[in-house]
């Protein structure tokens, strides 16, 4: 790393350290009540202790729910999106309905799902998958709809069969959009998983932090929040790396 870059990292880390120091001072000196703001040490201790205990299990449960839902959402979203996207006539009939569903909060489906399926893990997974499907579906439809017209003509000249066109031209063309949709979808999966755990009392980080707050155990609450932040960060970072690899052809 050049000097300038290391300098930047050090500066940035310095600011972060300063914020942590501020946190330490505020909580230890009691400027903010320790009921809401636990000390950094207490949080770290809760985190360490929790990971040796239940917290690890809760984290895995939430991550598992998030990933399972996201995978289902992606597979169905791409399949349905491709089916709708390749056909301009289907798109014309269905697109307005899709635009209505787009702004709907995924969590809003939870009461309906509870009504139908009851309070159980399957219900939460269903809402996670169903809610997270729409960004991928919409992105896929858009990706397929926006095929460069010149490429369609090339396909006609080469007499590329329909299925081959979808697989070799439609899908790669839609890939940047699909990947962006999948990233958004991951964010939604995490959110719905957490909310679902909170209201359906399912074992996981969502329920854990809710209970911690109700019992005024602030350090456990903060530990849980930190873990959720970490999950959000890691999942996004991994997807970003995958996206870069898959879209190598877009150039530097």
């Amino acid at each position: 790393m050049t000097n300038a870059r290391t300098g930047r990292w050090i500066g940035s880390a310095g600011v972060l350290a300063a914020l942590v120091a501020l946190w330490w001072a505020a909580s230890n000196a009691g400027w903010v009540s320790r009921v809401f703001l636990p000390t950094p040490e207490a949080t770290a201790a809760s985190l360490a202790e929790g990971l040796r205990g239940d917290l690890l299990g809760y984290t895995l449960a939430t991550v598992g729910r998030m990933l399972e839902g996201w995978l289902l959402a992606s597979v169905f979203g791409v399949m349905l999106g491709a089916a709708i996207g390749v056909s301009p006539s289907v798109r014309a009939w269905v697109q307005p309905t899709l635009e209505f569903i787009r702004p709907l909060p995924a969590s809003a489906l939870l009461p309906l799902a509870i009504s139908i399926f009851g309070l159980n893990p399957g219900m939460v997974l269903f809402v996670v998958a169903f809610g997270a499907m729409w960004p991928v579906l919409l992105a896929t439809v858009h990706g397929f709809a926006a095929v460069e017209p010149r490429l369609s003509e090339v396909a006609r000249c080469l007499q590329l069969p329909r299925a081959a066109f979808v697989w070799k031209i439609g899908l790669p063309n839609a890939l940047p959009d699909i990947l962006a949709g999948m990233r958004l979808s991951m964010t939604i999966s995490l959110i719905v998983a957490v909310v679902g755990e909170m209201i359906a009392s399912q074992s996981g980080l969502g329920q854990a932090i809710l209970l911690a707050a109700r019992s005024f155990r602030a350090s456990e609450l903060f530990a849980g929040i930190a873990l959720l932040g970490l999950i959000g960060f890691a999942s996004n970072a991994l997807l970003a790396v995958a996206e870069k690899k898959l879209l190598r052809w877009q150039g530097t």
């Binding site: 010149r150 003509e153 080469l158 007499q159 590329l160 069969p161 052809w249 877009q250 150039g251």
Partner: protein, 264 residues
């Protein structure tokens, strides 16, 4: 028609083809034939319908009137025997595939089994001089190289006819000249029949055996095709001496005058 008649019939017959768009007649009834191995250039001012004519000749567009025939059979749509080279090469290549991958597409479409593709791809790339750049992505290539990649893809189709829509229009003069000579050599080697649209009169005379000049808005009842001239200059041609050849200069003067004055 029996086999011998089909053989004898022209490779391409444009029979009173006319095209209308939004109620406007973009191309008035035009007729000509192209024999095997001929290099026919089409020139004309913008709006004369030369690109539209090319697209109709390749089956991409259905004529509003008249018929396009190949070996005596009416043309129903695009065919693998008729390759099309687009002017906007950047948009005609798959950006996510390498040069190799793009050429491969033609073979995949034709159902060539995977094992047999590599030699044919290599052959096509060598013909256009892109052998060393096979693994590059279009984004990494210059304009001239991208156009060569597109031509390689068309060659891989092993077509009978090659339609070219102002293929060198977007390139700088030096690249254009190089590609013109390469194209002439390729066409001669493979015995291709070419229909070549350009707005560059010199290019048309330099490359063609025949030049067809179209006029824009000829008026009701008048044909779009205003001139068809033979180019009796011997091959192989070269950028320096051919352009000083008296025939070349004569034809150039004739075409320039015709285009400048609009109508016949």
């Amino acid at each position: 028609m029996n086999a011998r008649e089909i053989e004898a019939a022209a490779v391409l017959s444009i029979d009173r083809v006319s095209i209308r768009y939004d109620g406007r007649e973009v191309l008035s009834p035009t007729s000509f034939e192209v024999a095997r191995g001929e290099f026919v250039c089409i020139v004309g001012p913008s709006g004369c319908g030369k690109t539209t004519l090319l697209r109709a000749a390749s089956g991409l567009v259905v004529p509003s009137g008249g018929e396009v025939r190949r070996h005596g059979q009416p043309m129903a749509g695009p065919s693998r025997e008729v390759a099309f080279v687009f002017q906007d090469y950047g948009r005609a290549l798959l950006p996510w595939r390498t040069v190799e991958g793009n050429v491969s597409l033609a073979l995949e479409a034709a159902g060539v089994p995977a094992g047999l593709r590599a030699p044919r791809i290599a052959e096509a790339l060598d013909k256009v001089g892109l052998g060393r750049h096979a693994r590059k992505f279009p984004m990494q290539l210059s304009g001239g190289m991208q156009q060569r990649a597109q031509i390689a893809r068309c060659l891989a189709q092993k077509p009978e006819l090659m339609m070219m829509d102002e293929p060198f229009g977007a390139l700088d003069a030096l690249t254009r000249q190089g590609l013109q000579d390469e194209l002439a050599r390729l066409v001669r080697e493979d015995g291709l029949t070419v229909l070549f649209v350009t707005h560059d009169l010199e290019e048309a005379i330099y490359l063609g055996d025949r030049v067809i000049a179209l006029q824009a808005d000829p008026g009701p009842g008048r044909p779009s095709m205003a001139r068809m001239i033979e180019v009796p200059i011997p091959r192989p041609r070269d950028q320096l001496t051919t352009k000083e050849h008296p025939e070349f200069l004569r034809l150039r003067r004739e075409l320039f005058a015709f285009i400048a004055h609009g109508h016949d």
